[in-house]
């Protein structure tokens, strides 16, 4: 009999631990506050870089919420909470990436149908097929002007009185991208063809726009992105880029980290190959979409030109 009481005590202890852990974890929330004044459009950017641009276009007539905004987590493995569902049900305009990057948004949207709600899917704005292998569209220089233009059009339809205001802000945003484009062109002109290794395709569109040569096989990048183990052949190949000094820069995804990527970074550091941290979502606070992209280009340029590492954007 004594043993039976002992076992029930164990069960009680385990249940209590589980309950406590669940309660604690429920307190965390991924969304920012969702209060808004009347006459202001409720909008959501599934990723905080889209939310940031939405805010720049909508200005004082938009209240923007972002879903993916934690630079220490991997958006690829995000699991939506109930607060996200509530934000979505209140939203009049949603911007999301598509290409499977934020599929959870589709599920939440279909769970709270709203005919008046406008949803901008960046993949569709750019007319990309579902088979597009690299979903990190915001690193492609042509993406954001196209997306911002659709944002301005949709905002003007929701709130026609301020159409002129939205158009003016769109023009200002598009113009402000000029510094980033100039920086990309400068790297292309001075350092085009420079070999670069990466862990993940996160910044590939930007690296290609700068004319840099990505030596890491895409299959390896996709394995890391999808969280499966790469082939031993590819691991040896990737390490060889550093030990044989075949690359000038190593772009390291700060949001997709595991034992393997850390060991590759250590190999790069030991071989004195400069490491540049790249991100899935915009580092907060202190950055706008434009200043973030400009900082990435500056960091990569400094790595090529001076061998400087910028592991974290501060």
């Amino acid at each position: 009999m004594k043993r039976v009481r002992g076992s029930s005590r164990v069960i009680a202890a385990v249940s209590a631990t589980l309950l406590a852990a669940l309660t604690l974890s429920a307190c965390g929330s991924n969304t920012s506050s969702n209060t808004s004044q009347p006459g202001v459009i409720n909008a959501i950017g599934a990723e905080n870089q889209y939310a940031n641009v939405l805010g720049q276009i909508g200005g004082k007539y938009v209240h923007v919420t972002s879903i993916l905004n934690n630079p220490n987590t991997d958006p690829h493995t995000f699991e939506a909470s109930t607060s996200v569902a509530e934000a979505v049900s209140n939203a009049q305009l949603i911007v999301q990436n598509g290409l499977g990057y934020d599929d959870f948004m589709n599920n939440i949207e279909s769970a709270s149908p709203n005919a008046a709600r406008k949803v901008i899917v960046v993949q569709h704005v750019l007319k990309l097929p579902d088979s597009t292998p690299n979903p990190h569209l915001w690193y492609e220089p042509a993406t954001m002007p196209a997306v911002a233009s659709v944002m301005a059009t949709d905002l003007a339809q929701i709130d026609p009185h301020h159409a002129k205001y939205f158009r003016a802000r769109l023009a200002a945003f598009t113009a402000s991208l000029g510094r980033w484009y100039a920086a990309i062109a400068a790297v292309h002109a001075h350092y085009g063809g420079t070999p670069v290794a990466v862990t993940e395709p996160v910044a590939d569109y930007l690296l290609q726009a700068m004319g840099l040569h990505i030596v890491t096989p895409f299959v390896f990048q996709a394995d890391i992105m999808n969280g499966v183990d790469p082939a031993p052949e590819d691991i040896t190949l990737e390490d060889g880029f550093f030990t044989h000094h075949e690359v000038k820069v190593f772009c390291y995804n700060e949001q997709v980290v595991d034992a393997l990527t850390s060991s590759i970074r250590d190999t790069a550091t030991a071989a004195h190959v400069p490491v540049v941290g790249v991100y899935e979502t915009m580092p907060e606070p202190g950055y706008t979409y434009q200043s973030w992209m400009l900082a990435e280009v500056a960091a990569i340029r400094a790595a090529i030109a001076n061998g400087t590492s910028t592991e974290h954007l501060s």
Partner: protein, 305 residues
Amino acid sequence: MHVLFKPGFFSNVPVRHALVLGAIVALVSGVVGVMTVVRSQSFAGHALTDVATTGGAGAAYVGVSPLAGFLGGAVAGAGAMEFIGVQRARQRDIATGIVLGAATGLSALFLYLNATSSATTGVTQQVLFGSIFTVDSSTITVTALTGVIVLLVLAVVWRPLLLASLSAEMAAALGTRVRLVGAAFIVSMAVAVGLSSIAVGSILSTALLIGPAATALRLTRSLRAAIVTSCALGVVATWAGILCAYDSYDWDPSSHGLPVSSFIVGIVVLLYGISGLPGLRRRAHARNRDVLRTHDAHHAMPGSA
């Protein structure tokens, strides 16, 4: 030669680490597995893989080494099962089931917390299905030392354990501390599961524990031969799996290879299937008689006279 071993196989550092680690894990699992099958504790072995999963997931969440998590989880699970009463045959399944359920729930929680709070992407895949090509040399050293300790412990308790497996009452009458040797074994089993979790993942570690042992027991006459065969089959399955995973790089250019743990487990199951062929299986009856003879030998030991 190149048809079988693609160039670069033996010079590839991840492959060499995997071969060493795979051999250590197969040897420990081979020995522990034979006793697990003889004692009919396969279900307990499977439950331990679930607590190893919890340990691995928890380790990823708090950021310690996965091996420490697997070992800690499995040993803690073994302790819990022992405490609830795994030694009594009737309570064994209940205790095992309760620990299994609680452990799986905690794994789900840790993996969720991990996904929502940290940047460790492949954790679920690595915990469940292993990551043998990404193991560093310090992990191999720890694995080898832990494996040696387990084998030494088993060598000490082997004979009384075998007797207790055949008849707990008789073993107790002969002065064997049945509970103690049983506890020593379940902890050894937990460590074996923890070690093989590093190689083939926590969920698949039962396959490496039970598969080669069950195959060997079908094929051999004596328990000693079963242990040697079980270890050999485990090493063969692990090494052949690593070779297949390496060679599979060229099979389909779009995927760059298939996961190593699916090859290893596939080979284990294949070997078990082959061992069931009529001409091979017959010999198992002889071996059962052999185990009974061991029993008789103990029976005739001083104390029973």
